[in-house]
Amino acid sequence: MSAVTNHVDLAKSSSRLLAKLFKNSKIDFLYRSQNSSDWQLLVDGRARGLEQIRDFLGDRNQSSFSLKKTPIGLCSASLMADDSLFAIALKSPSSRAKFSETDKVLLRLFIYLLDTAYQQLLHRRNEKSLIFSLNHRVLQLNSLIDTGIEVSKLDQSASLQQLALERAASLTNASKGIVRIREGDKVVEESFFPDRFSTQAINGEQQTIATSFKFANRAFTFELFEKESRRGVIPFEDTDQMLLDALARQVHASLENRFLLEKELENQRFEQDMAVAAAIQKKIIPIKLPDIAGYDVAGINIPSKSVGGDYYDCIPLGDGSFALVIADVAGKGVPAALLVSSLHAYLSAYLEGAIPLSQLAQRLNKVIWRASTDDKFITAFIGILKPGNGELEMLNAGHNPTYLLRRDGSVQELGAVGLPLGMLDMDFPYQSERITIEKGERLFLYTDGITEAVNEREEFYDVERPLRDFFLGHQPAQSGAFIRELITDIKKFTGSAPQSDDITALYLRRLP
């Protein structure tokens, strides 16, 4: 670095050397760059160099090298390798002293030497520029890789775009940049670099490069403006466009990866929720129903893949009676499973209190309403059976009709008499009914997972094969057999269609 790095220093050091050769002479060094018509006086030794060079060259263009005596002294001009001109003007110490032919030869030799030194200077300058350019390319590649790693780490999408914009601007030497995110024609987000500016002030296509991509119904556009150089604004290069495209692609890939990751995490959370819901439901659904003297009772619950909120039970009560319950929560997943759990807990507690069924329903309505969101409620059939005389006090809160097969072969439908539990926050007057199940009669409770089971043609089971007819047509000796036959028939109907809802049924037969 201590070597001469510019033409001014070259002129200064050369003038010191020349002063030793032409003792007592006044020496000027002049320079004219290739794109200029003006001479610069680099070393002013009072040799009236500017006057001499004007006398010497006049309006002529210098072709290569010339040397001439002028009225003032001796002047030499040489065309250098980069088309610039170096001139040396000598003035003798007195008007009487004249420059000799030897002096002319000496000056000519010195100019050759200067030319060689100037070529070396140009060579060093080119070498430095080449090294700078190569280093800058390495920097661009390195930064591209680093930015790719960094944008994949960032949590906030806004900082991700800002980072990519900053890197793109600095690597392409853009003076400013902007990222716009549009939804349709509306700009929903803007990021500027280095600070907010108006794009209207920028003219000329060559002063701008842009790239864009679409993600999640949004258009992302990256724009860079005014490529800088030491000489002012210059057009962007092809490699600048390539760099901007590459950085925008990294942002796009990062956004997509983040989206896929979030989706995967959401799926994992959903699967975990489903496992929790299934575990809750499994704990509540009875493994074995109690034996009721004089009756044969069987039930089933087949949860669907997405875990619904079906519930059934046959609960022995303190006075020898039994509570027959079937319920269906609107919705699926953990919220539905939790609501079933609440129903099970409150129902068990209220049944122990031996309160009237209508009052029990009112209380359940209130607690379920408090425990659930607006879109959640429970349809339920609750019956209190006195096994001895077959009396059934029952209440249907918005549930599917329960079928009762009478001894005469008729089917009695025990339909809804009240709103689903937890649907409204009001003291709805639930009314219970009393019927008697005679010997040989059968009671069938079910949820809509049976009536609304669909096949591959999206036909409903109850529409194609009315459940009432199945109930009437299948009267096996054992309740368990009825349940098995029903499930077989449903599966035969649905075929390969996936189970869309929980299938739950409770069948009670009073022995003859």
Partner: protein, 118 residues
């Protein structure tokens, strides 16, 4: 969003301390060079450039910094960069600036290094 380029300077222990904020580009580099030249011509040869608030430097800005380093090298002076953002530090390293300029964590560290130089 970054701020527009700004610069402050201070003379401490015969060392010029320049602190920048914003994008070191053509405008920023030129401003640094101008401030340097003003003091260099008066004989200041020890320079500290604090880039704590400049997270982005482009190659035009770097070319000005290289020129400052060259002038100081020729005059037997020294430049030390401080408070470098890791990305900026890597850029300056790749461009070869640390072959001739120093880097220190803080301005105080840089001043200690420069004032101990003979």
């Amino acid at each position: 969003m970054d701020q527009p380029f700004a610069l402050t300077s201070d003379l401490k222990d015969n060392c010029l301390v320049i602190a920048t904020s914003g994008y070191v580009n053509n405008v920023g580099g030129e401003a640094i060079a101008k401030e340097f030249t003003r003091h260099f011509e008066k004989g200041t040869k020890k320079i500290v450039i604090n880039l704590a608030k400049s997270k982005v430097v482009n190659s035009i800005g770097m070319s000005f910094l290289i020129e400052i380093i060259e002038q100081l090298e020729d005059a037997g002076g020294k430049l030390v960069f401080t408070d470098l953002d890791p990305a900026v530090e890597k850029m300056l390293a790749i461009m070869g600036l640390f072959k001739y300029a120093g880097k220190e964590p803080t301005v105080e560290d840089a001043l200690r290094v420069l004032t101990s130089r003979k």
